[in-house]
């Protein structure tokens, strides 16, 4: 009844369905919201060095967390890796991460970049900086995120959509520091200053400044670094908003060991290795992020932007106050 190719396909399919997944002697399984090009080189290096296989599945944080929760104690995942602190905080809150008692991690990761309860650890720093047009803005005009709400920026500001977690974390940290009322006032000020409706990506913010549609914007530094590699003629510069106030808002890409990990020891070793100088150097060069390990210098392209003063608050606040921040931005009309 069915032609031969169809029968062959069905057979193949049946095999794929019943074949058990190969058993590995030593392995660790990672659910990762950090995408493949930014983790595979690290995992490959780890496997080469230790012989431990790293299997991973990439997806967005939301589905990965839902999967961890639904799978419960039958999950295969040993490690959850994300690109922001908010989702790690949320995972810890949901009870899918376990505390890890590791002197190595405590030594390698500064206290404000890891969970006070030791359930997750930052592995790379993502700093949110200002970008501006050197033709229309003098660098010393750029002082802080709050200042972008001042009327002098009316019609000159470009922001990425509030739906992106980086902006949610930024506002959450502002709520932690200044209180909700003051933070809302600032966000309203931003909205009033927008040159155009919020954009879909950090790259678009940089390109809008380059195209002359606006004069100043807020982006994660590695987007700027990557775009500059691609388009060296970009008429955009980077500035640190740390002249007044607490300093530059930093987020982390980080990881924790799952509560129901089947290979907890291997998982902890992987995390420790990822925080070690060797891996930190890779982290830094793969995506132009800043290493968390203070002993490791950033990529020369990155250090060229000069040193900055980082906000010393613990990034856990970004998770604790994220919901409040999203609601605040909705109220302020920040789309």
């Amino acid at each position: 009844m069915f032609p031969a190719p169809v029968r062959r396909l069905a057979l193949l399919l049946a095999c794929a369905l019943v074949l058990p997944t190969a058993a590995h002697a030593a392995e660790v399984v990672v659910y990762s919201a950090r995408v493949e090009p930014l983790i595979k080189p690290l995992f490959d290096a780890y496997t080469k060095e230790t012989g431990v296989d790293v299997r991973f599945a990439t997806d967005k944080e939301g589905p990965l967390l839902a999967r961890l929760q639904a799978e419960g104690e039958n999950t295969q995942a040993d490690v959850l890796l994300t690109v922001d602190a908010g989702n790690l905080w949320q995972a810890a809150e949901a009870g899918v991460l376990r505390p890890v008692d590791s002197a190595v991690l405590r030594a390698n990761v500064p206290a404000q970049l890891r969970d006070p309860g030791d359930r997750w650890f930052g592995l790379a720093i993502r700093a949110r900086a200002l970008v501006y047009s050197p033709e229309r803005v003098k660098p010393d005009e750029l002082v802080s995120y709050e200042d972008l709400a001042s009327p002098k920026w009316k019609g000159r500001l470009c922001l990425r959509t509030s739906k992106k977690v980086y902006n949610q974390s930024l506002v959450a940290m502002m709520i932690a520091r200044l209180g909700e009322a003051k933070a809302e006032e600032i966000v309203k000020g931003w909205v009033a200053n927008l040159a155009t409706e919020p954009l879909a990506s950090d790259n678009q913010v940089i390109e809008a400044i380059d195209a002359g549609k606006c004069d100043v914007g807020v982006v994660n530094t590695y987007y700027f670094g990557r775009l500059l590699e691609e388009k060296p003629g970009l008429k955009v510069r980077l500035a640190w908003p740390d002249k007044v106030g607490p300093g530059v808002h930093v987020n982390i890409s980080g990881a924790g060991v799952t509560r129901h990990a089947k290979h907890p020891a291997e998982a902890q070793q992987l995390l420790e290795w990822l925080s070690s100088p060797k891996a930190q150097g890779l982290f830094a060069s793969l995506n132009l992020e800043f290493p968390v390990n203070p002993a490791v210098p950033a990529d020369p392209k990155v250090t060229a932007w000069g040193p900055y003063k980082a906000d010393p608050a613990n990034v856990a606040d970004a998770g604790r106050l994220q919901k409040q921040a999203v609601m605040l931005m909705d109220r302020a009309g920040y789309r």
């Binding site: 995408v35 493949e36 967005k60 678009q204 999203v326």
Partner: protein, 557 residues
């Protein structure tokens, strides 16, 4: 008279099939309905815990605007796909003009381009930072007039270009299937070309057009990729805001279930409006002559069709190739072969499974009118309207629950922990595709069945054909064009599918769409061009086959 369209009042059922086969068919349809219903029920179950805080917040802030945006988008894309899809279908099916044979196939090509890819290409090309406006500024200085590729008009235009092929494909098949006799009868009875179109062709093609239109509109409702590239917030935005921003998956599921309810009501309403008319071609006859558009009219028709192909396929693909070229040396390696193979394997398997499911559902709808069957059939069409991630999570939760149950049972029986059994298996992924794309396959399958004359079946029966024999010798050959159309559509859809593939794929089972995600999720659109263009090229053969097949079918015999 060689042929006529009979609009038979009242539901004419084919003669009863053997009770055993009937029972089997009905059980299978109910099982399929259940397969779709369970993940949806998981979503609806969240209403047990109303998320008052989130609802109040959304209602007071963004929701009214999002609902308005969504309705505007539906109206715009609905009108756009009807005009473009329906109009071009009539033009290529019933008229003749220079280049028609090429454009016939060409007009299907935008189907190979995922909507989110079209959106990022159009924006990357035409927006302020793109090559066009940059060149303008370089020439005329910074004061050169510019525009932004955002806002309602652009979103409607881009989604229309991405989704009109659904209407085009199905409407064109319906127009091609009109017999010479039908159209001659209409002309003899005094109708002009326009009258024939509006009073005969359109009503006869209505089920097909509606099937295409509902696919286009459900895609529009479920779309998150294209609208977020273009910064246009819709109801889907609220779903993801509740989930990713407010960390409230139950509230997101509640919002999604409202979306489903809306689609269910719309589909139900259309069925009621269509009434009980059924159209059957009573004789095939020779294909009717095409209306020859000569001179300026012919060239205008060709230009219009070509403009659509250019905007929806040629220009975006050229831009993609241009971008992909820059990254190909660093990125293109042997992995792409395995990415391609997995993409095709998953698409092909899903097409088989889903078309089989759609056939069961359509046959059951034709055969049985009881409430459970009707409910199962209705449910089967709904998976397509859900945003992909939401549906994927619903399916994933079901599998996880089954796995947890199996593990608990096994351990009670004294065994070791099994770990995931269904979760992360190909079977799970295929079931998710089935749930999502049953509606896609059901359209062409259902339309094909509606055109199957009861008298043919009765004649076969009276000649002694029974059961499987009847299926093999009568149903299958007659339905094959429709089934093949359905299979190709599902294949193309599955190749482009992203959220369910991401969440449910076995470890290491990356596809081209997954590769696109790996770049776009970090905002790296240009590096996504290589996997995207590979995906488009891989989709071309099935799309071209789809288009060619239906042409040959009309011109050949």
């Amino acid at each position: 008279m060689a042929g006529a369209v009979t609009a038979s009042a009242g539901r004419r059922r084919p003669a009863a099939i053997p009770p055993s086969a009937g029972r089997l068919l009905r059980t299978a349809a109910l099982a399929l309905g259940a397969a779709v219903a369970v993940p949806l029920a998981v979503l609806f179950s969240v209403w047990a815990a109303p998320q008052t805080e989130v609802w109040e917040h959304l209602a007071a802030t963004v929701l009214p605007g999002l609902v308005r945006n969504t309705l505007v988008l539906l109206a715009g894309v609905g009108a756009g796909t009807l005009l473009l899809g329906g109009g071009l279908a009539w033009l290529t099916a019933r008229c003749d003009f220079p280049g028609r044979r090429w454009l016939d196939v060409g007009l299907m090509l935008p189907l190979a381009l995922p909507a989110y890819v079209l959106a990022f290409v159009v924006q990357g090309t035409l927006d302020a930072a793109g090559p066009l406006q940059s060149a303008l500024r370089a020439h005329f200085g910074p004061a050169a007039p510019g525009f932004e590729v955002r806002g309602t008009g652009w979103v409607v235009a881009i989604l229309t270009l991405a989704f009109y092929p659904y209407v085009y494909l199905l409407a064109r098949q319906a127009f091609l299937a009109l017999g010479r006799g039908t159209l001659e009868a209409a002309r003899l009875l005094g109708l002009g070309p326009w009258g024939t179109f509006f009073r005969v062709a359109l009503p006869a093609a209505r089920p097909a057009i509606v099937a295409g239109l509902s696919l286009a509109l459900m895609e529009t409702l479920a779309d998150f990729g294209a609208v977020s590239v273009l910064g246009y917030d819709t109801f889907t935005t609220a779903i993801y805001k509740a989930w990713f921003g407010l960390f409230n998956l139950p509230a997101a599921a509640q919002l999604a279930s409202l979306l489903l309810l809306f689609v269910a009501l719309a589909l139900f309403g259309e069925r009621r409006l269509r009434g009980r008319a059924r159209f059957h071609e009573t004789a095939r006859g020779a294909p009717p002559p095409r209306l020859r558009l000569t001179g300026a009219r012919g060239w205008a028709a060709a230009a219009a069709a070509f403009a659509v192909v250019a905007a929806g396929f040629v220009v975006p693909t050229a831009q993609l190739v241009h971008w992909a070229w820059a990254t190909a040396s660093a990125e293109l390696d042997a992995r792409y072969l395995s990415l391609l193979w997995r993409t095709l394997l998953l698409g092909g398997s899903a097409a088989l499974v889903t078309v089989a499911g759609a056939l069961v559902v359509s046959l059951a709808r034709r055969q049985f009118a009881d409430a459970p069957t009707r409910a199962a059939v209705g449910l089967a069409a709904l998976g397509y309207a859900l945003p992909g991630s939401v549906l994927a999570v619903g399916v994933m939760m079901c599998f996880a629950a089954v796995d947890n149950g199996l593990n608990a049972l096994w351990q009670m029986a004294g065994g070791q922990r099994l770990g995931p059994v269904l979760g992360g298996s190909i079977a799970a992924l295929l079931l998710a595709y089935l749930v999502r794309f049953l509606a896609v396959a059901a359209g062409p399958t259902g339309s094909a069945l509606e055109r199957l004359r009861p008298s043919t079946v009765e004649a076969a029966r009276s000649l002694g054909a029974r059961g499987a024999d009847l299926l093999r010798r009568v149903y299958f050959p007659l339905l094959r064009p429709g089934l093949l159309t359905a299979a190709l559509l599902v294949l193309i859809e599955v190749m482009k599918e992203m959220p369910a593939t991401l969440l449910l794929r076995p470890f290491g089972w990356d596809t081209l769409a997954v590769r696109v995600f790996e770049f776009t999720s970090e905002g790296d659109w240009r590096r996504a061009a290589l996997p995207a263009v590979t995906l488009v090229l891989a989709g071309l053969p099935p799309v071209a086959w789809l288009a060619r097949r239906t042409t040959a079918h009309a011109d050949g015999d």
